[in-house]
Amino acid sequence: MKYFLKLGLILLIISVVASGILAYINSITKPLIEENERREKEEARMDVLPEAVTFDSLTVFNKETVYTAKDDSGNIVGYTFIACKYGYSSNVKTMVGLKPDLSINNVKIISQSETPGLGANCIKPEFQAEFADKTENELKVDKDGGDIISLTGATITTRTIANSIKEGLNELKNIILTEEEVTE
């Protein structure tokens, strides 16, 4: 019995020391990781709405903040939100920049782990440019009769991105429109 207590004690000491060290390293790296994530999103917002200077939070969608973007004189230049849907093998998150008339200004894929060489090509700027100027009803891939050209061998990924943006737009357009009426 005493022997087993000793064994348990040694294991306990090792675990406690290990957790202590990890807690310390976590306290150093956690702010850095959060800062990275925040900066990444901020850069993505600037990318999809380059004219914008300030971003004010509007509402929450997909657990992420939806922003109203304004230029330096305070005019609304658009909105940003993050669309998210499960694609072929991962959740694909897209930062979407909307013009004031709710057509798309630009999009940027901010997180995905789709098949390398196929679905993962969605991060290429040429592909993301396909979505520019589209309105809610034009968000259809070529296979479904729309004019967004699918990635080679990755229709599922393309469709996922188009649908995720469409769903987001559908959900958010009323909120954005009522918000505009209030401010005007």
Partner: protein, 195 residues
């Protein structure tokens, strides 16, 4: 065995991937590009080196009965450290390797070296062994990653190396390509050995 031999044995003669067939999961999963291969290789080398040092230091205090659980705690701690540090300083690579960073814990190379080497040898030897095996693992990953990236995308480390007219064999970077490249490479290693 001389220290230099201890260091170089992991490269070819006892290469953990090609000869001992250890750590197959990360080897096949992350080698879609050379960049990922290097990231994974170095992360595993770090864990291997430090767990080897640590285990050879504490081997006398640990009773035999709780050897394995203690090793697992030590290894898991270093893996978590690597995970956190990579996430903070190299977020892009961390994102690519994803699930396979925490899975270094169950990489048989690391527990294997702890049990077969660090457990019985001095600290210095364990350091040399950890570094050698880790670099051997990295080397294997780079070879596989290189072949797959060149065949599948026509690039090496993100630079075009094949003429534009080359049409990439996409299957090389998909799952089946990993198995096929690995099988052929293992066969070549066998051929060299039996000669």
């Amino acid at each position: 065995m001389k220290l230099t031999q201890e260091f170089t044995k992991g490269f070819i003669k006892e290469n953990p991937v090609f000869v001992m067939a250890l750590g197959l999961c990360p080897t096949l999963a992350v080698t879609t590009s050379v960049e990922n291969a290097i990231g994974m290789g170095l992360a595993a080398t770090f864990v291997l080196l430090f767990s080897n040092i640590f285990i050879s230091l504490i081997k006398k205090i640990i009773p035999d009965k709780i050897r394995i659980p203690s090793y697992i705690v030590v290894i898991a701690s270093f893996v978590t450290i690597v995970d956190m540090v990579m996430n903070a300083y190299f977020p892009a690579i961390h994102k690519n390797l994803g699930l396979f960073i925490p899975l270094i814990v169950v990489n048989c190379i690391i527990l294997g070296r702890a049990e077969a080497f660090a457990n019985k040898n001095t600290v210095i030897r364990s350091i040399v062994d950890g570094l050698g095996m880790g670099l051997g693992f990295t080397l294997a990953l780079i070879v596989i990653g290189g072949i797959r990236e060149i065949l599948g995308v026509g690039q090496f480390l993100g630079h075009n190396v094949l003429p534009v007219s080359y049409k990439p064999v996409i299957v090389a970077i998909l799952a089946p390509g990993a198995f096929l490249v690995m099988g052929v490479l293992m066969g070549l290693m066998n051929m060299k050995k039996t000669k």
